[in-house]
Amino acid sequence: MDPDREDAFRLRRGDASGLAGLMQRHQDRLFRYLLRLLGDEAMAEDVFQQAWVQVAERISRYDPGRPFAPWLFTVARNLALDQLRRQRPQSLEETDEPAAPPRDDPHARAVAGQRSSRLAAAVAGLAALDREGLSLRFEGELELPQLAATLGVPLPTAKARLYRALARLRERLLARSPAEEWR
């Protein structure tokens, strides 16, 4: 049996060990996604905690016939978008200038090269909806159908969003460092 499904059943029965298993498998990518989308560590921490509490409260609504990750990301996404709208009433389609790369821990700093940091800075400068598409696909490792389910859009729309986000990212990279390897 799928471990996520097993843990979701446990959590539904009120067994906290179900939560431990789900968190262990999904907490890192969920946090990376929130950090990328919100661009602020304190806000990401707040939404991270709220998301897991909401998962525990609404676990009876989760359909165990479907993968857990998109459902989790949908719960977190709704909370994060509410937070963003409260924080910045401007459109989520607008770019976040000046772009500040998300803070990273010393270990991550040590292993991340300059190229990676430039890429992170370029991603951070994209609009929230572009950042989230890229983060869900590349950091959350969601397949396209799962990505579409998380965003609540049809498959072709999810594909178009992903394409647009990648194209915009490359434009930014080329504009900032034309001599680089992105050409």
Binding site: G14, A16, L19, A20, M23, Q27, D28, F31, R32, L35, R36, E41, E45, F48, Q49, W52, V53, V55, A56, E57, P102, R103, D104, D105, A108, R109, V111, A112, R115, S116, S117, L119, A120, V123, L134, R137, F138, E139, E141, E143, L144, K159, L162, Y163, L166, A167, L169, R170, L173, E181, W182, R183
Partner: protein, 155 residues
């Protein structure tokens, strides 16, 4: 470079192509050096996106989150227990109401015999007795229900 093929390249790097698009693109890349170079660039970009520097949730955050969820689970379990207990008590109370009618009727009959005259509309007296009992229980439930959250907040 064909414009249509160039539009497939970023999606190919993202692993978001349909199987037939993948086949078509592979055939084109085998014959087109410029597109093959472009495809390699998109692949590097996609790899980079999968390896961006990012924090992991701190141990403190994970511990806080687990505590918050466990507290919520405990609340949920308590609410479920309270609902079950309330359901049982209501069912028990109605059983007593039905059974007590026979006792009430018996006592009224005995009293009428002792007094040598009817004691009045027994059903009406019984109805008033039951209504008073439920009203008292309802008021007590509201008072206790209001006090419990207040005590919970100050605890």
């Amino acid at each position: 470079m064909s414009q249509h093929v160039s539009e497939l390249l970023p999606l190919a790097a993202a692993g978001a192509l349909e199987p037939e698009e993948t086949v078509r693109l592979a055939a084109h890349l085998a014959a087109c050096e410029a597109c093959a170079h472009e495809a390699a660039t998109w692949r590097r970009l996609a790899e980079g996106l999968g390896q961006l520097p990012a924090s992991r949730p701190s141990h403190a955050l994970v511990a806080r989150t687990r505590e918050a969820v466990e507290a919520r689970l405990a609340e949920r379990a308590e609410r479920a227990w309270n609902r079950a207990a309330l359901g049982f008590l209501v069912a028990f109370a109605w059983t007593l109401v039905v059974l007590s009618w026979f006792v009430f009727d018996l006592v009224a009959g005995g009293l009428a015999l002792q007094l040598g005259r009817p004691v009045g509309p027994t059903a009406a007296w019984y109805g008033a007795y039951v209504a008073a009992g439920w009203l008292t229980a309802g008021v007590a439930a509201v008072v206790v229900g209001r006090r419990t959250p207040e005590e919970g907040r100050t605890a």
